[in-house]
Symmetry: C2
Subunit: 212 residues, 2 copies
Amino acid sequence: MSDNEDAAERIRKAAIALFKTHGYHATPVRALAEVAKIEAGSLYYHFPSKQEILFDNFVRTMDMLLEGLARAVETESTPRRRLRVAVRNHVLFHTRRQDEAFISHTEIRALSEQNRREILAKRDLYEERFCELLRAGVEAGVFHIPDVRLTNIAILTMCSGVADWFLHDGRLDEESVAERYVEMVERLVGYSRSTESSDRKRLPARRRKARR
Amino acid sequence: MSDNEDAAERIRKAAIALFKTHGYHATPVRALAEVAKIEAGSLYYHFPSKQEILFDNFVRTMDMLLEGLARAVETESTPRRRLRVAVRNHVLFHTRRQDEAFISHTEIRALSEQNRREILAKRDLYEERFCELLRAGVEAGVFHIPDVRLTNIAILTMCSGVADWFLHDGRLDEESVAERYVEMVERLVGYSRSTESSDRKRLPARRRKARR
DNA sequence: GTCTATAACTAGATAGAC
DNA sequence: GTCTATCTAGTTATAGAC
């Protein structure tokens, strides 16, 4: 955190670090001020309240996610490729903006009711757009999903979970993790190149008979 | 919450409800006392501190999870069946003990350092025992997993996520959700009855060639 | 085992000088 | 735009009566 940044940005970064480690309610404004190298009173020149600092982080995080998803859909044309890019994007966001994403998981309850409504609307929009990617693949016959809504939420929680455990100097770098998650998602959606070959692989009639 | 329960139990249940809704730090002891139908001072006869009430919830939750996993492994013999029962057990725990499980996700940071160490040790133990189920299947040739540790964490976060969204009067009842999650996990581990048939399905030499 | 009263402290936010 | 000083309210926990 450079000292030359403007104060608002230093406060934002202090909030990300402290809310992630201790949580919103366990972080006094005085602690935010100390990390941001400012006095507590001065902080209120840049933000009207502690709540607004948290809300600011939520808005930025959700908007980045939504923009990333929109880009992913634009740049690819087939359902499979769109899903692959969307998942890669989602996972990389949760490694690159790990702390912000983590706060967005854990501190929704700390938002005021009005702010929470606004953020949940953005989250619902993201989930719905992601779900559309799955439905498109099912309708094209390349994904085979018994319950699209359930698989959608399972995929998103699985991928968002990366923010909980990823270590930047760990065994796998972020690109490797993203690749593996793309592979796992393709298993979850039962990807196959065409309906016929997939049906042969997923539900072979002969094998079914042999089971009894 | 019955008024006839002993006070300690009423305090536990009040804590589960309030910590889930507002979080640990946003829940005053006076609020716990009010919901437990007791005065704030009386609460300290049953628990030495607010922290101890939170820790109590963590210990109970983790111990229930560990016991459930041990039972799952005992009652089944094949890798596939063990995994199926373990996943079903895990998901049903996160619907039946939804609030406790949710708190265990979101409030780890609120534990004192010593308490947190103790709980993380239990969590690591659970993850390691779960991972063993995957390894057993890989060694038996019935699971096909590129990175067992990664798939393990992906499965567990996916299944634990049920506590975040499950509604007891929602579209799917808990048994249906558990069944579908078992199916999804089987896709993730690349289950197949024997090594040969699975290798044919997953990495067909001809298709690989045709790709270039 | 539960109560009332309160100690000791910390919280978020504001006022006004510079 | 940043500072110091402070207001008001709320916090966990304890003391001692019953």
